[in-house]
Structures are given as C-alpha cells and as structure tokens.
Subunit: 413 residues, 2 copies
C-alpha cells in the first residue's frame, strides 16, 4: 500500500458522496469532534424546531398542542421513524424514557417469557447500566436469577439450557468491537434463550437489521449517533411475536389502551404501545425527532461505507505514523467486527487525551487506559481522521501529556 498522506484524505473528502451532510450540523470552529459516540453534534435544523415548539406550540397553543401538534403521538411516531434505522417495522418501536429504564422493561419481559431459566448472560465490561439494571431487576424479583458475565468472544459458547436471556451491546462502548447480530441471536435461540440487543453504539452508525436477525428485544440511545441532544430519550423494540405476551411493569398511564378514559384498572395498549410508561419529555423528544429525520435521508449503505473509510483511515494513519509511541489498537481490524469508533490503549491514556483535547481534538477516555475516537460519518471528514492521528502523534512525541495540568481528572471525560 502506498504511503497515506493528508492529500489522500482531502481527495477522499472531495469525492465523498456524503460530504455535504457536514453542512447540516452546527460544529464549533477549530475543533475536531470525535465524540459523537458519546454526544452527537447539533443539527442546524434543531434550534429552529425547538424554538417553534417552545414559543408557538407550548407558549401559544398550550394544552391543545397535545393533539394539534401531535405531541401525544411522539413516542410511537418517532418509534416508527427509528424503526427504519434498525430493520424494524411500524408499530414495533417506541421512543421513551432512558436506555436504563427501557432495559428494565425488556429484561423483565424476557425473564417472564422464559420463566424456568435463571441466567442473564452478558459480556464482561458491557456498558455498566446494562449490568446494573439486571442487578436491580434480579434483586427486586428475588427469584434466584443470576447475571453471568463472560468475555465477548466466549458468549456463544456460554449459552446453555439455563440461559433465559442473552443481553449484549451490539457495538462495545470501550473497544468498538461489533457482535455478529444474526449469529449470536441464532445461537441464543437454538439454546432456547431470548436475545436482547443494546443498540446504543449502533443506531445511526452501523447497519442494524433486527428483523433479519430474528432478535427478541432491543433498546437504544438517542443522544449518540442519532444526534438527539443531551440525554435525548431512548427507544425500545419488541419483536411483534412477543409484544402482547407480557404486560411490562412500568405500566404508566400512557401505556394504557385508553389513557384519557382515566379508567381505574390498567388495560395495556395493544402492541408496542404498552411499553410507554409516563408522559414523554416533549422538548427532548422533538430534538431527537430532528436528529432522526436527518438520518432518514441518508443511505445506510453509504453511511456504513463512509464510517468504515474513516476508521480505516485513522487506523492506517496510526499504523504508519505512531510506531513505537506506546499505542496499541483495541478495535478489530476486521471490517465486519468493527463499529463506528476506534479505541487505542496507551498507559498514559488519561493525560494523553487531556493534552489532545487541549489541542482541539475531542475524543474521550475510558479507564484504565483507553483513548476513544468516534467517527460519526455524517459530519466527520477524512482529513479529520488524519489530523486527529497527527495531533495524537505530536502529543506522544512531545510528551506534552507529561505536564501536570493534564493529569487532573474530571468527572466526565
């Protein structure tokens, strides 16, 4: 392979069919933002949409907006849009609550539908909230369920006749490694287990086809690659075959078959509607809808191609420029096993990332030694991948990260 240069990257940007999408985002000047896997960037259309919602719909139309402006339909309308990003159909997804709360609903369903099996099987180092919610649910149930954690590549072999549900994050938050959704789902179901996918680092970044995989449940996050804004509501998918087999326990009034009849007894809404709990946070839902609307205009195949191009470019630049600087690649080189981020290890990971941020390259750090770089394909350029690698090399060469100010720890990095 010929030597990679910044000019090659600029040429790829010039030929990039998705290049114009960057113009749809309000990005800060002089910053290379590689943390869209933690908080996605602001779509330019969002501020006007939110201002309209706040000033006209809330301020002027007030209570009538629940009907007049369709607020009441937001969980399902937005769910139907999200469905198109994850290989699901209309009436299969709702936008609601947080990922944590949606994990609780779907895990409760899974354990109820597989009542004679005690094990929730997951991956060691899965995103903590997934594990914490499993703990909380098991303790509440008090029925002897156990959470079994194995390495990512040992999951399939660990599924057995005790496994009630396999709960995995499709793309790992630390390593960026991606599970084979169809293969793991099939393995779980062959053993009589149900399959619950957390799509936090998938939706909007990598192709997802829950229907083709035949999965059972999924949850996902609105504020990463979906660009729904800080703390945007999460979403939840239940395979149609399971939707009416269980009444999820957070049976709030908006999951009732007739919320405005104010009946004394809970009657679950038909289908996916019963997975809504309380009143949705409309401002945050509207921002999520603006982010999702943007993504619906993009070809998923083109998005994936760009994403892989970006991560490959960054990996190639590090391979070429950063030899002997103490970095090792944690993310799989195999395209089929890589999500939308690149994770590198360095023994001084924390101060190195702080020094990089001080130079305007925003990635993040995950303990104990991981530098994460998210390449959101809609607004990241190939030259950004090159420039980020060059900045990292410079930081490591100059050892600027040795300076004490880069060793202070922040609460969020």
């Amino acid at each position: 392979m010929s030597r990679l240069t910044r000019a090659h990257c600029a040429a790829r940007d010039a030929a990039d069919p998705l290049a114009a999408w960057r113009g749809e985002f309000a990005l800060p000047e002089g910053i290379i933002y590689l943390d869209g896997n933690s908080l996605g960037a602001l779509p330019k259309a969002t501020p006007a949409r939110i201002a309209e919602l706040v000033e006209r719909e809330w301020g002027q139309d007030l209570i009538t907006s629940w009907n007049k402006h369709g607020w009441i339909e937001l969980p399902r309308r937005l769910g139907d849009k999200l469905a198109r990003l994850i290989g699901a159909g209309p009436g299969e997804v709702v936008a609601a609550d947080s990922t944590s709360v949606n994990l609780f609903k779907t895990l409760a369903a899974a354990l109820s539908l597989n009542p004679d099996r005690p094990i929730i099987l997951s991956e060691r180092d899965n995103f903590p909230t997934d594990l914490y919610i499993a703990e909380g649910l098991m303790a509440l149930l008090g029925k002897g369920h156990r959470l079994r954690l194995v390495e990512g590549d040992a999951v399939e072999a660990a599924i057995d006749s005790d496994t009630a549900v396999v709960m995995l994050t499709h793309v790992h938050y630390r390593t960026g490694a991606m599970h084979d959704m169809a293969a793991v789902t099939a393995a779980a179901q062959r053993a009589g287990a149900l399959m619950l996918w957390d799509l936090a680092h998938s939706a909007g970044a990598v192709p997802v086809d829950l229907t083709a995989a035949g999965a059972d449940f999924a949850v996902g996050c609105g504020y990463k690659y979906l660009n729904g804004g800080p703390g945007a509501p999460a979403f939840l998918w239940v395979a149609p075959r399971h939707q009416e087999r269980f009444v999820q326990p957070l049976s709030g009034w908006l999951g009732h078959a007739a919320p405005f009849a104010f009946e004394a007894a809970y009657r679950p809404a038909p289908g996916i509607g019963r997975y809504v709990a309380g009143t949705p946070p409309v401002l945050s839902m509207a921002a999520l809808e603006a982010g999702v609307d943007l993504l619906l205009g993009v070809s998923p195949a083109a998005l994936r191609e760009k994403s892989l191009g970006l991560t490959e470019t960054f990996i190639a630049a590090i391979d070429q420029e950063a030899q002997g600087l103490g970095l090792s690649l944690l993310t799989p080189r195999d395209r089929a096993r890589r999500g939308g981020q690149v994770s590198l290890r360095h023994e001084a990971g924390y101060p190195v990332m702080q020094a990089l941020i001080a130079r305007g390259v925003i990635g993040d750090f995950r303990a104990p030694d991981i530098l994460r770089f998210g390449f959101a394909p809609l607004y990241t350029r190939f030259v950004d991948a090159w420039d980020a690698a060059a900045a990292l090399v410079e930081v490591l060469r100059q050892r600027g990260w040795d300076r004490p100010e880069f060793h202070r720890r922040a609460a969020v990095t």
Copy 2:
C-alpha cells in the same frame, strides 16, 4: 356579602401583590388559560435559556458541557431547588424520569421497607397512573400484594395493620379536594404504614411541608404548576431516614456512587442520588429549571392567598350568576380542603367545555361530567375568574353547547 362584580375583580387585580408576575409569562392574546393544572404556561425566560442550551452548550461546547455547564448535576441541583417548594431539605429530592417511573421506585421502596404487609391503600379515583403503577409493581413482585381503594374521606379509617403504604394524591386531579397531609401521614404511621404523597397538583400551587408532616416518600410533576414545559421531568423525595435503607430497582448508571468509574457491579450513590436511573433529558430538565427558578422568587404564603382568592372568586361568581343552570360544585368550599382548581359538574360537561374553549376560555373536561378550571396563581387574574364564570353562564344560557360540533371527542381535552 355584597354582590360581586367585574369591577370588584379588577380592583383586586389592581391591589394584587403578585400581579406583576403575569408579565413573566408568554400568554396567548385573547385567551383565558385555566389549564395550568394540566400544562403550565411558558415563562418568558425559558426560550432564551433553551436556545442558549441548544446552540451554545450543546452546539459549541458539546461533550464538555456535562461538566462545564453542570448538566451532570441537574437531577440533584434541580432537586435541591424543588425541595424548597415542598418543605424538604437539600439532598432529599432528585428531578428525574416521569411521575409514573418515580412512583415505581418509591412504591418498591415502601413495600420493601414494610415487607410483612400486603396492602397498598389508595383513593378510588386517584390519578390512574398511580394505580396502574401499583398494579404493575404488584404483578412483577408476585408476592400477593393487593391494592385497596376507598373513598377519599374513608382513607384514614381504612388504614390497618395490613397496610404497607398509603399512596395518595395530595390534591385530587378531578375534584381539587386536598387531603390534610399531616393528619393522614400521622394516621398511616400510627398504624405502622408508610406514607407516599403524589404532589402532582400541589407543587407550585399549595403549601407543602413534607418535613413537618413527617412523610416517608413523595413524587411530583414538573409540567403543571411548576411551568416546566410539556412532559417536563418529574421529581421524587425520600425522607432522609429511609434513603439508604433500600436500593431502588431502576438502578441505572447515574444512580451509581461513581458513574464514570464504569465499575461492573452496582454501588448505589449515597443518599438520594441512588434514585436517579439513566441519563436525564437535559433540554426538558433545563426548561423545568427555568420554571422552578421563577417560583423560587415568590412567597409561598402570598401564592396560596392569591390561589384561594381566585378559586373563591370563581366559586362566588358561579354561585351568584349560574343558579338553575345545572352546575354543581365538586371542589370543597372549605379553604383548608381546597387545592388550586375548581371542578364543576354538568350533565353536558364535555360539549359545554368545548363550547367554552371555542370562546377562548381554556379549561378541561374529565369524564363523566366534570369541568375543570385551574387557577395558576402566578399568571391568572381575578378578572379572568370573573370572565370565565361569565362565559360559562353565557354558554349554558344560550345552549350553544347543543351544537353538534361541540360533541366530537378529542383524544386530549
């Protein structure tokens, strides 16, 4: 008493020490808005705050805003502010999730702390989500808990040694009747039960002192009298003596003692922090904060005095002007037993309310025959109470509500 006139009402407005607060709200022209008990009005300061949050904090400062702009502290910072409105201390309240979800957390805690008692005691016609969530939790636990419902004035007598928790809405959503918080709490605790208050129609409308009442748990709503915007996050209070006696089951990562340590096992945050579940919807939280900030500038005693003045004026106007028109008053005349709304019954309640709305007086309807009028004291005038009563009388006299267009039912009224 002398005959009430519109001029008397105008004089009261002129003398009203809270009159200027109306100027802090963006209200539609030509509308009398009496539905602030369903969706509070828009504070004028909110659009600019939201625009700043979206465009500068999210758009420009991106991921760094979690620390730089204190997003990560929102559930507790806002909780501490809310605490001042409900007679609680710092570190006792979090803003999080929906009222439904917070009911689940606190009811789970109550049942766990009173494990040998099977009964959740509540009021017939309590707001449905309270009852539905109790149903959902009981079904999930599968331990033979039962929900017992009695009339509001029979609650105290119904508390017995089987009662684990008494769950009541302080101000009833349909009737506007207010329970004596201290008396009912004392009765519950004398019988060894725990007391859970739903403050949905109280916070921001009537004085609440959870500490003085010695209550155990409370939840409340952000989008009614707190003016936090549609679907604003809810809040939750746990008496300090109980906070660390239970690990609530929605044990998401932001309730962990060290969320950014990404530990494999859940370690609940000390104190109230463990009642946070997932990532908060920051846009909706910020709008709630703007609404709460406004209320913190108002004397609670003055607020209550104005509120009672408004409801009394409306009741007096109806008494005086609407004799023989088929209305009956559902809300208590006793000041001590009345919240911030007035509910009237009329056999044609639904079309009457639709006809009233068509004349620009926005109240709402609750089945089977209830006309609800909320008098949010910060932005409602005494002349509004008079004019609303006059409009209602006119609708009833002219029987305009007989016209077919007022009989169509909307999903939200």
